[in-house]
């Protein structure tokens, strides 16, 4: 659980993905579905970051974009930036606070951030995965893998298990066929399956076993990072425990990092080191696991935690029942996107979008209830103080314009 800028595997900055809505006679561009609207966090080596939110909040899209299965609208994901580069990124993004970087939303950058943007551009050319191509991109594919939610449709029904797991090796032309199949047998053993299962079709297996085959396939190219897209949501509880144990073991053995996307907070708590809560494409809160669960600051996080059914009939806890339904990501409410359902809504919430601020050590929240960030003297600089509001620098006097790193 490293903090700070050492051993950062992936640094996601201001990632946005807008899907255009086409309508009218000529399929003109009417609007955007803002699936992911500005998320930023870091993933360190051997760390599990849990990405939590309800359906429609964009976490699945975020996982795909981080892997470059979908091209983002703006933002960057830096792969293995060195500690010096991380420091520079902090400084640069801090300096760009409030101004759109990277051509976001079609706005022109202000003159005094042109320098910063140029330097950012240079760093992006070297480290951002969206600017890689050719051989480098192919090599990257092996390092960033994904395990899907639905064990029933994520394995091709017409291929034998042997071919399914050997496919990544085949694509990258690794070894002869015999060597590939040997490796497949090793991988299946690593996830706890009998190598005899090579010779079967996926439909002969149960959900948990299929999920294990999916994990074996993801491990084929020795990745650094795996996006786990709700890996246990379609499985039963006891099987879920098996899979989670396997994942934990593999993380230790192979030094993997995970992005664990889920809407089951209890499961996320059991596996993650850090949790990021998303709502309607924006980050609501981000903190280490225990900090988040013991002290949830954002009202949405509090409601989520209160809504989880606890398998204990005597447990009485405060019920925070949110009214209404999740708004559509094509037409998010103005200001704070949560204000239509928030139990503690204030007048400012419907006008201004709250910026992401570090209000406690390593605990980042975007809520008007916490308008002040901790000052620079306390601890690590705010890593994501770029607010998506045009008035960002005006509403967050505390940590907005960060001084240059010493």
């Amino acid at each position: 659980m490293d903090n700070g800028s050492k051993d950062v595997l992936l640094s996601v900055r201001n990632l946005r993905k807008h899907f255009p809505i086409r309508g009218g006679i000529f399929s003109s561009h009417i609007g955007d579905v803002r699936a992911v609207d500005g998320i930023s966090f870091d993933i360190h080596k051997s760390e599990t970051v849990g990405l939590v939110g309800e359906s429609g909040c964009g976490k699945t899209t975020a996982g795909r974009v981080i892997l470059r299965l979908i091209e983002p609208t703006s933002g960057h994901t830096y792969y293995r930036p060195s500690p010096e580069v991380m420091e520079r990124l902090k400084v640069l993004y801090g300096a760009l606070d409030g101004t759109p970087a990277d051509g976001e939303e079609g706005r022109k950058p202000s003159p005094n951030s042109v320098e910063a943007l140029k330097e950012l551009d240079g760093i992006a050319n070297k480290y951002s995965i969206y600017r890689m191509s050719g051989k480098r991109l192919q090599a990257l594919r092996g390092k960033l893998q994904i395990v899907f939610q639905d064990p029933f449709s994520s394995l091709s029904p017409r291929l034998l298990v042997r071919d399914i797991v050997a496919e990544p090796l085949e694509i990258h032309h690794m070894g002869t066929r015999a060597e590939r199949y040997k490796r497949v047998a090793e991988l299946l053993q690593a996830v706890g399956l009998n190598p005899d299962h090579l010779w079967r079709f996926p439909h002969e297996f149960s959900g948990g076993q299929r999920q294990r085959i999916g994990i074996a396939r993801a491990l084929a190219l020795r990745p650094d990072f795996i996006v786990l897209d709700e890996p246990t949501s379609a499985l039963d509880v006891s099987v879920q425990a098996q899979i989670l144990n396997i994942l934990k073991r593999l993380q230790v053995e192979q030094e993997l990092s995970y992005l664990f996307i889920s809407h089951h907070l209890s499961v996320v708590r059991a596996v993650s080191h850090r949790v990021v809560v998303m709502y309607l494409g924006k980050m609501a809160e981000s903190a280490p696991t225990e900090e988040l669960f013991n002290r949830p600051l954002h009202p949405y996080t509090q409601a989520l935690l209160a809504a989880i059914p606890i398998p204990d009939p005597d447990h009485h806890r405060e019920r925070i029942i949110l009214s209404g339904d999740v708004p559509s990501p094509a037409a998010p409410p103005p200001g704070c996107c949560f204000h239509t359902r928030c139990p503690v809504v204030m007048p400012i919430c419907s006008k201004v979008d709250p910026p992401l601020l570090e209000v406690r050590p390593d605990h980042i929240v975007a809520c008007h209830l916490y308008p002040k960030a901790i000052g620079p003297g306390d601890s690590a600089l705010p890593m994501a103080s770029v607010g998506s509001s045009p008035l960002g620098s005006m509403t967050s006097p505390g940590g907005a314009s960060a001084p240059p790193a010493s």
């Binding site: 594919r141 994904i146 291929l159 990544p168 694509i171 040997k182 090579l198 010779w199």
Partner: protein
């Protein structure tokens, strides 16, 4: 986990070849198990079995036609009809005891295999049905016509043309449809608009246009079988493109395609290995349907008067039916029925027609049964 109690050891041997751990007892071969399952469901469908039976019968007839008298291609083409006066090597037989139809014909015993039942005749009015399988004279008196031989000789032609048309059309359709479905965007638009153009024109009309144009442009090509097949392929491929594209649109959203992309696979590989194998079932069903419609289309063209065969006595079912119909009707209209001898030879129209009908419907039943057996949702 299949219910069969027999174990296949093919898997064991293959595993030993790769140097992988083998089981003490053999495991059932999964691909074989799938085939068995499909056959089981096909077996349970009576209509499909009937269709399959009739189709197998036709295939056997087609295969046995190569042993029918007549040595080289020229002979084969003409042996459906036996020119009475020229020496082409075809043997002309008639049963002993009846009158010889023409010079150069041999009398054979009634049990000779060259006399093939049933009794059919294309004789002009008044002569009535002749004894089993004997030759008959056509209107000009120059050519003899044996309906049964014509049908037997025609079986490989009908089947062959149908199969080649269908296979080529489906391959073109698979190729174009998978590209269109997978790439989307402009490629998709372009391919689908071309497909729509071809589909908007009724099949028969398109066929006629193509054949007429080819015949007009290249004089040696009218009556050329190759052009005929190409014309049919041109009318057939759009349907496959449509079918394949719709399947591809569904398959490409599946998670395993995304997983392959995540592993770095490129479009060609994904299409080849993932999308096409999963899109094959509707293509098989459509193929089995089309095999039935091609001979019907050929018959339609001949009825409309198109000159699509190398010779007017080419042994193809459609041609035989057309000739039978035209000859019979013309005769019946032109010839006044003399006293007592007015028998309308309905069998001349009925028998070739029913051959076509049986062929088409057997293929239909088979394709229905195949669809039910292959569809993963309908299976139990």
């Amino acid at each position: 986990m299949s219910g069969s109690s027999k174990d296949e050891t093919g898997a064991t041997q293959e595993k030993a070849r790769w140097g992988l751990p083998t089981l003490s007892k053999g495991r059932p071969n999964p691909q074989l198990a799938q085939l068995k399952r499909t056959l089981y469901f096909l077996r349970r469908n009576t209509l499909a079995i009937v269709g399959l039976g009739i189709l197998i019968f036709f295939v056997c007839v087609a295969l046995s036609s190569f042993f029918y008298p007549g040595s080289n291609l020229q002979m084969t083409q003409l042996c459906g009809t036996y020119p009475a006066n020229t020496n082409t090597g075809c043997i002309c037989t008639y049963p002993q005891g009846s009158v010889s139809p023409g010079p150069g014909c041999y009398a054979v015993s009634a049990n000779d295999p060259s006399l093939v039942p049933p009794t059919v005749s294309l004789s002009p009015f008044g002569l009535g049905p002749l004894p089993l399988g004997s030759l008959t004279v056509d209107a000009s008196g120059l050519y003899f016509f044996n309906l049964m031989a014509g049908l037997i000789k025609g079986a490989p032609w009908s089947l062959g043309i149908a199969t080649s048309v269908v296979v080529s059309g489906s391959m073109i359709g698979l190729f174009l449809g998978s590209i269109a479905g997978y790439q989307g965007g402009k490629t998709d638009e372009v391919i689908m608009r071309i497909t729509d153009v071809f589909l908007a024109i009724p099949g028969l009309l398109l066929l006629m246009v193509i054949l007429a144009t080819a015949g007009a442009l290249f004089h040696g090509l009218s009556g050329h079988l190759g052009i005929l097949i190409l014309a049919f392929i041109a009318t057939d491929w759009p349907i496959y493109t449509r079918i394949v594209r719709s399947q591809v649109l569904v398959t490409r959203e599946q998670k395993f395609v995304e997983a392959a992309k995540a592993s770095g696979a490129r479009a060609g590989r994904i299409i080849r290995k993932h999308i096409v194998p999963n899109s094959l079932y509707p293509v098989f069903v459509q193929m089995s349907l089309d095999i039935g419609t091609v001979p019907l289309g050929l018959a339609a063209l001949v009825f409309l008067g198109f000159n699509i065969y190398p010779s007017q006595y080419f042994p193809e079912w459609g041609l035989i039916t057309a000739k039978s119909v035209s000859e019979t009707f013309i005769k019946s209209i032109l010839t006044l029925c003399q006293v007592g001898n007015c028998i309308f030879p309905w069998w001349q129209i009925f028998i070739p027609g029913i051959t076509l009908f049986l062929f088409a419907i057997s293929v239909n039943f088979l394709s229905d049964g195949l669809r039910d057996a292959l569809d993963p949702r309908l299976r139990r």
